[in-house]
């Protein structure tokens, strides 16, 4: 349903399934009780003999209460478990232990592929730089060859906006920072974003798997022209 990235879709589908299950149980219960146990016209039997100034008699069932403490706990442990691997995939380490190997040698290709679970694996990665500033993006190809990474300008909504050209099948490691305030490049089609913070560096994996040209926006509020802080990410073959 979602069609963002294979990784996103896999968790989304599982979550929607559990949401539906919880929703059907809760709402089924709610609708049944609110109709089945409604009082008839004019009739108001005081079931538990509530009386002003008297703490009402206890109405509990330890077994039931433990059931709906334990079952949701089990469910969330399971949901955390299935969210664990994607956590590693999104913030994979740099280097041999990670999912994207070491930095590529000259002329080496990442040859990235998506496995059955939706995770992207690569043989190696290319490093690029992204810098945010009020209110434009600056891309730095860090000496990569022209076919792997190039920067350009494009006209969008009548204004000149930066453009970053990447190559499909290659994985990039973005080293990011900001010149003034916090910004956040949002790569909608890669299903990922991360803040850029002045005075420090943050990092992000950008696995370019298929050809696409999409709009990158700033997702952390950064001032008057925040909405105009856009760029074009162009993944070519």
């Amino acid at each position: 349903m979602a069609e963002v990235t294979a990784l996103y879709d896999a968790i989304w589908d599982e979550y929607i399934l559990w949401s539906l299950l919880v929703g059907v149980v809760t709402f089924g219960w709610l609708y049944h009780h609110s109709f089945y146990y409604r009082s008839s016209e004019g009739e108001k039997p005081n079931v538990d003999e509530l009386e002003v100034g008297v703490f009402p008699r206890e109405n509990d069932n330890l077994r039931l209460e433990i059931t709906w403490t334990v079952l949701p706990t089990l469910l969330i442990v399971y949901l955390t478990y299935i969210s664990w691997a994607p956590l590693d995939a999104v913030w994979s380490q740099v280097g041999e232990d990670g999912w994207h190997g070491d930095v590529c040698a000259d002329g080496q290709s990442s040859n990235n592929y998506i496995d059955d679970d939706g995770y992207v694996h690569s043989e190696c990665y290319h490093e690029i730089g992204i810098t945010g500033q009020q209110w434009f993006w600056e891309f730095d190809c860090m000496g990569l060859s022209e076919d792997l990474c190039s920067t350009d300008f494009t006209t969008f909504e009548g204004e000149s906006k930066p453009q970053l050209n990447l190559k499909a099948g290659e994985t990039y490691f973005a080293n990011m920072t900001s010149r003034d305030v916090i910004h956040a490049p949002k790569f909608t089609n890669f299903g990922i974003m991360e803040d850029v913070v002045p005075g420090q560096n943050t990092y992000l994996w950008l696995p370019a798997t298929e050809e696409v040209a999409f709009l990158m926006m700033c997702a952390e509020y950064c001032g008057d022209n925040h909405a105009y802080m856009t760029a074009k990410i162009n993944v070519e073959d």
Binding site: A2, L7, I11, W12, Y15, G23, F27, L30, H33, S34, Y37, R38, S39, N46, V47, L50, E51, V52, G53, V54, F55, P56, R57, E58, N59, D60, T69, T73, I76, L79, I82, S83, P86, L87, V90, Q133, E138, E157, E159, D180, V181, I182, K186, T188, G191, M193, E194, V197, P198, G199, V212, A213, A219, E220, Y221, G223, D224, A227, Y228, K232
Partner: protein, 773 residues
Amino acid sequence: MARNVVASRCLVVFSILALAMVIAPAVTSLPTGISGIKDSGCNCHGTDPSDSVVPFIGGLPESYNASETYTVTVSFTGGPSTDGNANLGGFNLWASAGTFTVSDSDVRIWSPNEVSHSYEGNDQRSWTFDWVAPDSGAAVDFILHTNSVNGNEGNDGSSGDMWNRADATVLGFGPAPLPDVDPFKVLATLMLVSAILFGIVVLYVFYRQNPSGFEWNNFAPWITEWLTSTDHKKIGTLYFVQGLFFLGVGGIMAMMIRLQLASPGNDFITQEYYNQFFTLHGTTMIFLAAMPLIAGFANWIVPLQIGAPDLAFPRLNAFSFWLQPVAALLIFTGVFSGGGADTGWTGYAPYVVSETAHAGVSMWAAGQIMLVASSTLTGINFLTTIAVMRAPGMGWFQMPLFTWSILVANVMLFISIPAFGVGLIQVFLDRTIGTAFYDVAAGGDPLLWSHLFWYFGHPEVYVVVVPAFGVISEVVATSARRSIFGYKSMVYALAGIGIVAFVVYGHHMFTSGMSPALRFITMLTTMLVAVPTGIKIFNWLKTMHGGSLVYRTHTLWTLGFLVTFTLGGISGMFFPSMGMDVHLHETYFVVAHFHYVLVGGTVFGMFAAIYYWFPKMTGRMLDERLGVLHFLTGFIAYNAVFWPMHRLGVVGMIRRTHTYYITTADIQALPEWAADWNMQISIAAYVFFASNLILVVNMIKSLIRGEKAPADPWGGWSFEWMVSSPPPTPSFDPQNIPTLLNANEHVANEPGRLGQWFQRFMVADDAAEGESH
């Protein structure tokens, strides 16, 4: 008599102070007062202007002809810029009127009346472009800033650079036209004029009814009473009125936001105004609407429920309240000085202390510092009251659940809000006297604010939703004519939420570069929130089992709450899951989620509370037919507003932008249907806003000619239903506090399972057994 003179004098002094507070911000908006960003300039490199840089604007005529195009050249000399640098310089030119057009890639347009250099253009010292004169005939001002750049790259790229400013004026050909109106001021003036007219009408009606009683001596005690009362019921009403008023103000801002977003690329309001509206919408709704509404009910109902004559510190309580309207005035002050706060309610550093943020941010911070003080004092008051002023027979585990929820909310608030106060004071000092807590260049840490804010911000959202849990617990039990299912597990769940609230705030900062290990821990703790809230929802459902559900308006809002809050809870589970959060963060999925829990949770809970306790508070019944109409229109419109936002978030629509982009032939953005959906959301939002006016009409109508309310219209058990409607003052006779009886007396005296097991080791105590009967 002497007392009345003093009271009147106090009133005069008070009025003068209030007037001064209204006028002062208007004065600061004069050219000599607080100024906007236009004057402080550009992204200037370095802090002070340098005389060695000489900017120059060429090509402008002495006086212009209507709509004629002039070719403008801006240039500069001097400074560190020398041939051979990687970059040479930059500029920013702002014109008060007319339109710039650009023909080459060295120059770019920010807005029709503002141009600056582009990336390619930063290796120049002179730039050329066109300026199309306006046809108004008024003189046009130009402000030019230029940077002279020495070309060093990287993070310290602007070190050693210099800048300066030049102004120019081009005369027009006609009389000066009136300046453009400021929409905010028009709105404020309209509201002020309507309020004055309304006031005159009300006074006239009073006058016509009793011309001889229309004397200052008759009004003065009434006004003095409301201004100086320390009665928890009067202060509760003041809180309640304030909360409803700002719910309306925040709603009007939401309407502006929705009108702007109705279609992509809309220019109904500018980004400067949009950014103020969404910031003030958030701040208003949380701090000036939700919190006072909750404080209003807490003030009214908690002393009544625990059988206390008043709160423990009535004067402190009055002080807590009177901080609120003053704080509200401060928060909105920025609007009058030409730029209200535009930081989002989160106010992330370093933007919040940067020069590009609107001038009103300082006042916004100052106002919130006062709210922090108010909340802290309220916390002290309620914790003390609940701890020591319970009626005889009411142990901790016999307190009504609404009182429990207020206790838990105030404990959370009391522990978390100092962090927010500290952050705000740092921001205020940074902005006013130049400290450097958040100045990155001076070693300040922008993430410190995020930590301080969210350490408070996450418990804060529970502070506003937990009292709604209390209301729902009361209403479900009373309407189903049953005692609440699992009273003790309800209390433990509330306390559990109160504890978990403090260890989950990291999920707001998932994408700010935190360590993966912490991300995993926060993921787990965040999901844990679902356990106590799940217990509460299942307990509420089980309470209805075997009951006899009486359908009144408050019952409907409670059932509505159960639907929307469950949906909000389910959508909340999507965020801790990292693989999805990095996509959903800062999208409309988040907006949908927190409106489902804050409107569908807090506001629906407060609506239920209004319909439930209004007869107790005023002695008048609300109209059930209007109530049902309010519920049906409100509930349907509400879902039509926020449900589609989930999908918009999934396809990547970002929060806090005044416009959004639809996919074009060469760039992929939002799908085409997103525009239609936004239009539909905007229409539904107006229906939702209008539906809430039914509640206002209902309340006014009932106050004037509502049916008289009995002491216990719904059949509740707690003490507030024992006193008359409306309750007397003091609410309970201090000499004659009622004793809470307990229907479980026999059970309470029997040992529990553990006790029974232990008793096997005990020698039977026959003597004690005999005495107890």
